[in-house]
């Protein structure tokens, strides 16, 4: 405590309470609405008092909507995103820190650039690439004039086409292309004793053994925290899943929740059911946070360094 004056204490407490109300208020409203019936809401508007319809509403979500399958999609996307991000970041940081690679600095700078160009900015180009993952190759062939040569020789230019839109892979891959993890692991590796790699080589351990016997056990809390963070971010992604998946069965739960609000005018949405869905969809990340809080905090501290 810098200051102990009574007036400052009171002011700080008031500020804190306002903050808590600001954050907890909507959560409370979500829960209380989710526990009331549609009729109650039609009669009374906002539900400030909790009712007894929570499980009935959740049952409606499970039986009448696509939320269950969409939660499965979310699970696949978030889990694969976390796993792939961890593996890729770990390996690229390993290569950058422990091997003398030509242009390692440039490579690292390019990886870092992805942090400054998040998916939200690149969403249109990402969509173009996802709609045909060979489009960059086609463009290169066109621009370099290679396609003209090929057209002359074989009668037709090369034009490959493969769309990954509306597939799990298409939902996951663009999320994985992100440099935060690489940066995190690089910073972590740099804090380890420099001679560890040499000591392991003297002990006869090659690069692969060093990776599994020494680096991975040492980095396990960092890996765990990155996993938790990317899982949560994958679960709560909105824009890319909205664009990248077109059929309800391929959409993720967060997108599905938004779609529960009917497009047609005039009809009052079934807010209790939507809120029950929101509660249901939040349960996975919430329980994850509760169980793996330790790693989450460590991850935040690490990425702040």
């Amino acid at each position: 405590m810098v200051e102990n004056a009574r007036s400052i204490n009171i002011a700080a407490s008031i500020l804190l309470i306002i903050g808590i109300v600001y954050i907890v208020g909507p959560l409370y409203l979500t829960l209380s609405t989710a526990s009331q019936s549609y009729e109650y809401m039609l009669r009374n508007g906002l539900a400030w008092v909790p009712g007894g319809e929570l499980f009935a509403n959740m049952g409606k979500v499970i039986n009448d909507t696509r939320i269950p399958i969409q939660m499965l999609n979310s699970m696949i996307v978030a889990f694969s995103n976390a796993l792939a991000t961890c593996a890729l970041s770990f390996l690229s940081a390993y290569a950058i820190v422990y091997f003398r690679i030509r242009w390692a600095g440039v490579v690292f700078a390019l990886i870092l650039a992805t942090i400054m160009l998040p998916l939200d900015i690149r969403v249109i180009t990402t969509y173009q690439v996802a709609s045909n993952i060979f489009s960059p190759l086609n463009a290169v062939l066109d621009v370099t004039g290679l396609n003209d040569l090929i057209a002359n020789a074989f009668g037709a230019p090369v034009h490959l086409e493969l769309s990954v839109l509306n597939t799990h892979f298409g939902l996951i891959a663009p999320l994985v292309a992100h440099g935060t993890g690489t940066f995190l692991f690089r910073q972590f590796f740099l804090t380890l004793p420099k001679d560890l790699f040499k000591a392991a080589r003297m002990d006869g351990a090659g690069p692969i053994r060093f990776l599994f016997d020494i680096l991975l056990p040492l980095a396990r809390t960092s890996v765990a925290s990155l996993f938790v963070l990317t899982f949560l971010s994958g679960w709560t992604q909105y824009l890319w899943p909205l664009v990248g998946a077109s059929t309800p069965d391929m959409q993720t739960a967060v997108v599905g929740l938004a779609r529960l609000v009917p497009d047609a005018d005039g009809q009052v949405p079934d807010f209790p059911m939507i809120m029950a869905g929101a509660v249901l969809v939040s349960l996975v990340p919430l329980s994850m946070i509760a169980l793996l809080q330790r790693f989450l905090v460590q991850g935040l501290v690490l990425s702040e360094k």
Binding site: K194, D195, L196, K198, R201, D203, G204, R209
Partner: protein, 376 residues
Amino acid sequence: MTAIDTAIRAAAADIELIGVTKAYDAKTVVIPQLDVALRPGEFTVVLGPSGCGKSTLLQMIAGLERVSGGKILIGGREVQNLEPKHRGCAMVFQNYALYPHMTVAENMAYSLKVAGVSKAERAERVATVAKMLGLADFLARKPGQLSGGQRQRVAIGRAIIREPGVLLFDEPLSNLDAQLRHDMRVELADLHRRIGATSVFVTHDQVEAMTLADRILILNKGHIEQFDTPKAIYHHPASIFVAKFIGSPPMNILAVTGDGSALRLADGQVVANFAGKGSFQLGIRPEDITVKAGGPIKAQIRYREDLGSHEILEADIAGQPLRIATPFGAEIDPTSTLSLSFSQARLHLFDNGTSRAISNAFDQTKSAPASVKEYQ
């Protein structure tokens, strides 16, 4: 010898470096050219200032750095293109480089595990080494729960457990405090006697070099200044660099001129008889100068430092600094001009251009024996 003594015993291998060069890139040539042969079982200390290429040299022997040119032979086998694990070397690092997540026992046994040694034999070897190094009670601990000295012992245990023919040390004691460093020096010397592996020990600490080495290799900017026994290096330094590097306080180096009969300082004082002519650098150790009434050489005292066992006087002679070590209790008037005599048998003469020692410069045949007496 006890049973422990014979349990870990290496088949010492000789090491030969032939025309070895190393450049990290075109601009950083660390070792221009190096030829050296180390005998089996010999304890060599590589001594030199920071950045002179000691670690680079050691890592080339170990196989952690590639040579840019030349050959390295260990036990007569060309190894410069082999992986570290095929060279039969083990290394102790300055910062221990222990695996933080493994226990002491796991740390020491890791190389055996990688090599596929059975669990039972690993445990047996770990027990032997731990007993040898006094680590038996710490086997279940992690490195983080050990003191600096214990960690260094684990690092040594990890190195010797495979009974390597060559043991490499890269400044292993520089992270320890003075007392511990002394104790570890004694232990290392003892360990070397018992294990008998050819050892190369890198340091910038001359005390470690003088006490541990069979022979000291003095490295300066990647080339060898001198490679000889500690005694020879102390008493017959081959260059000004060596003369200044060994000894504490270091040897005094004075610019002198030979006029055909004597060596004179800039102010005309004669410091020795000498038949040659020209400019030279004269070396004399602080302990080879005595302060005595009627001494023929005069100097102005600047500062005195009482170290208990002896005193160090800092003086000024013909515009050059001069350090003198006097025995405890010597009567010195700090205000007056000092009267000194240089021990004539212990003068060193160096060439002005090459900085190399001129051997037998004060040979009795060259200077008149009668007058030598005069300046003592």
